[in-house]
C-alpha cells in the first residue's frame, strides 16, 4: 500500500510599489495596495473559494478517504485577514473536517533562514506556529520553509524549535541516487524527519493541469497513474506538493473534473490511498541520514539550487540582515510589520533576470522591467526603513531621557537634531 500525501501551497506577497530614492523620508507606503487587493480578491473569488467548496464536497463524498495538507504563508494569511476574511472561515471548515492539516512556516514567507540570525528565524517560526494553531485549531507538525529551502543549519534550527518533521524539495542535488519516497533524517541527534517533495510526479501533475485542453482525455489520467506504478511497493509515501493556484483559474471545470477522477481512482484502488504526513510519521521511521550545506529549494520558474542567488540578490539580503541589531527589540508595530514583509522571498526572486516577468514583453503584472529595477526599488525601500529605524531609536532615547529626569527638567529636553531631520 502506497500512501499519497497531497500538499497545497498558498502564498501572496506584499508587493512593493515604485519607491524612488527621492521618496526616502517622505512617509510613503512601500506597498502597492491596489494591486495587492485586486490580486487577492481575484485569487479568492476565482480560485480559493470554489476550490475549497469542491474539496469539502469531495471529502464529504469520499467518507474520510481524501486527506490533504495546506501551507498558507504568513503574508497570505495577513492579506486574507485584511481583504477577504470570509476565506479564512472556508479554510477553517476544511480544518474542521479532520481530514485537512495545516503546515507551519515562517511568519512572512521570509528568507531569514539564509541569514546568520538564528533568534530571528526562531522567533518567526514560533510566531507562525502559534498563529496557525489559533486559526485552524491544531498545532502544525510539519515545517515548510520558504521555497522549501533546506540546509543542515536549517534542519538544526527546526529540530530545536519543536517541529517533528520538515518538508523540502526532493531534487537530485540532495537525493542523488536515493528515492524521495521515504522518510529521512538529518545528521544530528534529534532525528526529526525529513519529507521530500516528489519532484517528478509533482511537476508532471502541475504541467498536466496547465494544459486543460487535454485533461478530458481519459488516457491522460491513465498515463499519469502509470507513472505511480514505477515506484517500488516498499516505498511508503509519495509527496505531491503543488501551488494551490494550479488547480483553479481558467478552465477550472475541466481541471476539477480531472482532479475528481484522480481522487476516485486513488480511493477505489487497492494499491494507493491518501494519508496525512503526521499519521505516516508514526508508522514509518527514517531510512537514512541526509544533509547538505548548499541550499536546495523549490521555487516556481527557478532551478532547485537557485539560492543563495546572484550578486544583486546576495547583496540585498546581506544589507537586510545587517539590520539585525536595530530590529531586535522593536515595539513599533508598523516597523515590525515592515521588517517582516521586507524579508519575503518574492522581492528577491524579482532580482533575477530569469523571472518570467522579464520574458513577457506585454506583461504589466510587475512594475519592474529588469532585475536592476527590482534591486533599485528594494534598496530605496531599505534605505527608508533604515531612516525610520534610526528615527525610532532617537525617539526612544528622548522618551527614556524624559522619563528619567525630574519633571521640571524633563520639560526642557529637546528632540535631538538627527531626529528632527527626517521629518522635515
Amino acid at each position: 500500500m502506497k500512501n499519497i500525501c497531497l500538499y497545497f501551497q498558498i502564498h501572496h506577497p506584499f508587493s512593493f510599489q515604485t519607491f524612488r530614492y527621492f521618496d526616502v523620508g517622505n512617509s510613503k507606503s512601500y506597498y502597492d495596495d491596489f494591486r495587492i487587493e485586486r490580486e487577492i480578491n481575484e485569487a479568492v473569488t476565482n480560485y480559493y473559494l470554489p476550490l475549497n467548496d469542491f474539496l469539502i464536497r469531495q471529502i464529504d463524498q469520499s467518507k474520510g478517504k481524501l486527506k490533504l495538507s495546506f501551507y498558507i504563508s504568513g503574508t497570505a494569511l495577513d492579506q486574507f485577514l485584511i481583504y477577504t476574511p470570509k476565506i479564512l472561515t472556508s479554510f477553517r471548515q476544511l480544518a474542521d473536517t479532520g481530514q485537512v492539516e495545516f503546515m507551519g512556516g515562517t511568519s512572512s514567507h521570509s528568507i531569514v533562514s539564509l541569514g546568520e540570525n538564528k533568534e530571528e528565524f526562531q522567533r518567526q517560526i514560533s510566531l507562525n506556529r502559534e498563529r496557525i494553531e489559533y486559526y485552524f485549531g491544531k498545532k502544525p507538525q510539519v515545517f515548510v520553509n520558504t521555497d522549501l529551502i533546506f540546509t543542515n543549519r536549517i534542519y538544526e534550527i527546526i529540530s530545536d524549535s519543536g517541529y517533528p518533521a520538515l518538508l523540502t524539495n526532493g531534487c537530485n542535488k540532495i537525493l542523488q541516487w536515493r528515492s524521495p519516497n521515504y522518510f529521512y533524517s538529518g545528521e544530528n541527534q534529534k532525528k526529526i524527519k525529513i519529507l521530500f517533495r516528489n519532484e517528478f510526479i509533482s511537476n508532471e501533475f502541475a504541467t498536466l493541469l496547465q494544459n486543460p485542453a487535454i485533461l478530458e482525455n481519459p488516457e491522460i489520467l491513465k498515463q499519469f497513474l502509470a507513472k505511480f506504478q514505477a515506484i517500488g511497493d516498499e516505498e511508503p509515501l509519495i509527496n505531491i506538493y503543488l501551488n494551490y493556484l494550479t488547480l483553479g483559474g481558467t478552465a477550472i471545470d475541466s481541471k476539477l473534473h480531472y482532479f475528481r477522477r484522480f481522487i476516485s481512482k486513488i480511493n477505489n484502488s487497492k494499491q494507493y490511498r491518501f494519508d496525512l504526513p503526521t499519521v505516516l510519521m508514526e508508522k514509518f521511521g527514517p531510512v537514512s541520514e541526509i544533509g547538505t550545506e548548499e541550499p536546495v529549494c523549490w521555487a516556481e520558474h527557478f532551478h532547485p539550487s537557485y539560492y543563495p542567488g546572484n550578486e544583486l540578490q546576495t547583496d540585498a539580503m546581506s544589507q537586510l540582515f545587517k539590520l539585525k541589531t536595530q530590529t531586535e527589540h522593536l515595539d513599533n508595530t508598523n516597523l515590525k510589520i515592515d521588517w517582516q514583509y521586507l524579508q519575503t522571498s518574492d522581492h528577491f526572486h524579482l532580482m533575477d533576470e530569469n523571472h518570467p516577468a522579464y520574458h513577457d514583453e506585454f506583461s504589466n503584472t510587475y512594475i519592474y522591467k529588469s532585475k536592476y529595477d527590482a534591486y533599485i526599488n528594494y534598496m530605496n525601500i531599505l534605505e527608508d526603513f533604515r531612516h525610520r529605524l534610526a528615527a525610532e531609536k532617537a525617539r526612544k532615547k528622548i522618551k527614556s531621557k524624559v522619563l528619567h529626569q525630574p519633571i521640571h527638567k524633563a520639560l526642557f529636553v529637546r528632540p535631538n537634531h538627527q531626529y528632527h531631520d527626517f521629518y522635515e
Binding site: E311, L312, E353, I376
Partner: protein, 432 residues
C-alpha cells in the same frame, strides 16, 4: 551576389549613427562569401578604411548623359528648406554650410549639366541637402549603368532618390534600409518634403529593412506600408572598431554622468538636465557632461543657468570617434533619454566600454538588450533614482558593467549581415 549600396556618410567622417551602421553592415556582408558590395557615397574624403570595401565617391564620376531628368523628382528639385528642419545640422556648421551651399546651388541649378562634368558634393548635411540629393540621383544613374549588380540597397531617405533612379534605369530590385524616419528626427513636426521622399522610397522598394520593431510599427502606421514587406534587422557593434582602453578604471572620487548625442529635441536633452538637477541636489562629487552639439544647445545652457547647476554641468562639444571612446571610458553612467530613438548604437558602445547604461524605453535598442535600466523618457524621477543607486551601490554598477559587456560582446555585424543576405535572396527571388 553583387550589391550596389547607396549611403550618405562613411566613417570616420560621420555626424551620426548612420555612418557607423553602414560601415558595420558592409563589413558584416564582406564576411559572407557570396556577397560583394559596391558602396557609393556622395563624397569620399580619402581617409575611409577601404581595405575590405569598394567605395565609390559620387563626385569622381563623370556623367554620361546630358539629359537632366527634372520631371522625375519634381517635388524637391528646386525646394529651399528652412534650416531648422534639416536633419543633423549643427549651429556651428550652419554658417559654413550655408556659404558653401550657395556656391553649389548657383552652379548646379543655373548651369546645365553636360557630359563629362563632375558634380561637387559636400557629403554633409546642410540647407542645400535637397539639391545634393537630386544631384546624387543623377550620378546614381551613371553608376548604375557602369556596374554589374543584382540588388540595390539604400540607407535612409537621403539616398532614396538615387536608389530609385538606379532601379528605374536597370530594373533591379531595391531594398531600402530605414535607420530613422522623419517622425523620430523632428519630434513630430514632420517635414512634408522629406516625408514624401521617404514614402516614395518605401513604396518603390521591393523589401524594407528596419532597425527595430519600433520603426517597423511606425512604417506600418504612419507610412501605410504592408507589414510583410518589412523585416527587422537589429544593428550591432564591431568591438574591434573601438580603441581598447585598460579594463580597470581609475576610480575617481568625482563621478561622471554622460549624455552623448546631438542636442536636439529627438534626444531629450532637457530630461538629462532635470535628472542632473535632482541628483546634484542629493549627491556631492557628481558631474554631468553633455557631449555633442545641436540646435537646442543654447536653450540647455540657459536651463542649467536657471537651475544654478552650471558648476557641475559641463558641455563637451562635438566629439570625434576616438574622443567618444575616451569620454565613455571616463564616465560612470551613460544616459540616453531619447524621446524617439530608432535604434541607438551609442548605448552598445557604452556597454562595451563597461559603463552602466540608462536608456529610454522609446528606443529601438531597448528591444534588444537586457542589462540596462530602461525608463520612460519623461520619467526623470526614475532616471535620477537609477543614477543615484548606480553611484551608491557598487554591486549594482559592477553587475551592470560585467553582464552588459558580456551581452554586448555576443552581438556582431555578421549575424545582422546574414539576416540582410536573406532579405536580398528573398528580394531577388520575388523579382525574378
Amino acid at each position: 551576389m553583387n550589391v550596389l549600396m547607396f549611403g550618405w556618410e562613411f566613417p570616420p567622417n560621420i555626424s551620426g549613427g548612420l555612418g557607423t551602421a553602414c560601415y558595420g553592415i558592409v563589413k558584416g556582408l564582406s564576411s559572407c562569401d557570396d556577397v560583394n558590395v559596391v558602396f557609393v557615397v556622395p563624397k569620399a574624403f580619402g581617409n575611409e578604411p577601404t581595405s575590405t570595401i569598394q567605395l565609390i565617391s559620387a563626385d569622381t564620376i563623370s556623367l554620361e548623359s546630358d539629359t537632366l531628368n527634372t520631371e522625375r523628382f519634381p517635388s524637391f528639385s528646386t525646394l529651399e528648406v528652412s534650416t531648422r528642419l534639416v536633419p543633423y545640422l549643427t549651429p556651428e556648421s550652419f554658417a559654413e554650410k550655408y556659404q558653401s551651399s550657395t556656391e553649389i546651388q548657383e552652379k548646379s541649378t543655373n548651369e546645365i549639366v553636360k557630359e563629362g562634368r563632375k558634380i561637387q558634393f559636400s557629403g554633409k548635411y546642410g540647407p542645400d541637402l535637397f539639391e545634393e540629393i537630386y544631384n546624387y540621383a543623377i550620378v546614381a544613374e551613371t553608376i548604375a549603368r557602369t556596374y554589374q549588380f543584382e540588388v540595390i540597397h539604400a540607407h535612409d531617405w537621403l539616398t532614396f532618390p538615387a536608389a530609385i533612379a538606379a532601379k528605374r534605369i536597370t530594373g533591379k530590385p531595391l531594398v531600402v534600409h530605414i535607420h530613422s524616419t522623419d517622425f523620430d528626427r523632428s519630434g513630430g513636426s514632420v517635414n512634408p518634403s522629406i516625408y514624401d521622399i521617404e514614402k516614395q522610397g518605401m513604396e518603390e522598394a521591393d523589401q524594407i529593412i528596419t532597425v527595430s520593431n519600433r520603426i517597423r510599427h511606425r512604417l506600418i502606421e504612419q507610412y501605410n506600408i504592408p507589414e510583410k514587406k518589412i523585416t527587422t534587422v537589429y544593428n550591432a557593434i564591431d568591438p574591434k572598431f573601438y580603441r581598447t582602453l585598460p579594463e580597470i578604471k581609475k576610480r575617481n572620487k568625482h563621478k561622471t554622468v554622460t549624455f552623448l548625442g546631438r542636442i536636439t529635441i529627438q534626444k531629450g536633452p532637457e530630461y538629462f538636465v532635470e535628472v542632473a538637477r535632482m541628483v546634484i541636489k542629493r549627491i556631492k562629487n557628481v558631474h554631468f557632461v553633455m557631449a555633442g552639439n545641436g540646435e537646442m544647445r543654447n536653450r540647455i545652457v540657459d536651463l542649467c543657468a536657471h537651475y544654478h547647476i552650471s558648476d557641475r554641468f559641463h558641455f563637451a562639444g562635438f566629439l570625434e570617434s576616438d574622443e567618444v571612446s575616451e569620454m565613455l571610458h571616463k564616465s560612470d553612467i551613460f544616459i540616453m533619454p531619447s524621446i524617439s530613438e530608432p535604434f541607438g548604437i551609442v548605448p552598445l558602445e557604452a556597454m562595451h566600454a563597461r559603463v552602466p547604461v540608462i536608456i529610454s524605453k522609446q528606443s529601438g535598442v531597448s528591444e534588444l538588450i537586457r542589462n540596462v535600466i530602461k525608463t520612460d523618457f519623461w520619467d526623470v524621477h526614475a532616471m535620477a533614482d537609477a543614477v543615484y543607486n548606480i553611484l551608491k551601490h557598487k554591486i549594482l554598477a559592477n553587475a551592470m558593467m560585467t553582464e552588459g559587456k558580456i551581452e554586448v560582446s555576443k552581438l556582431n555585424w555578421e549575424l545582422a549581415a546574414i539576416q540582410i543576405r536573406q532579405v536580398y535572396l528573398q528580394t531577388i527571388k520575388q523579382a525574378s
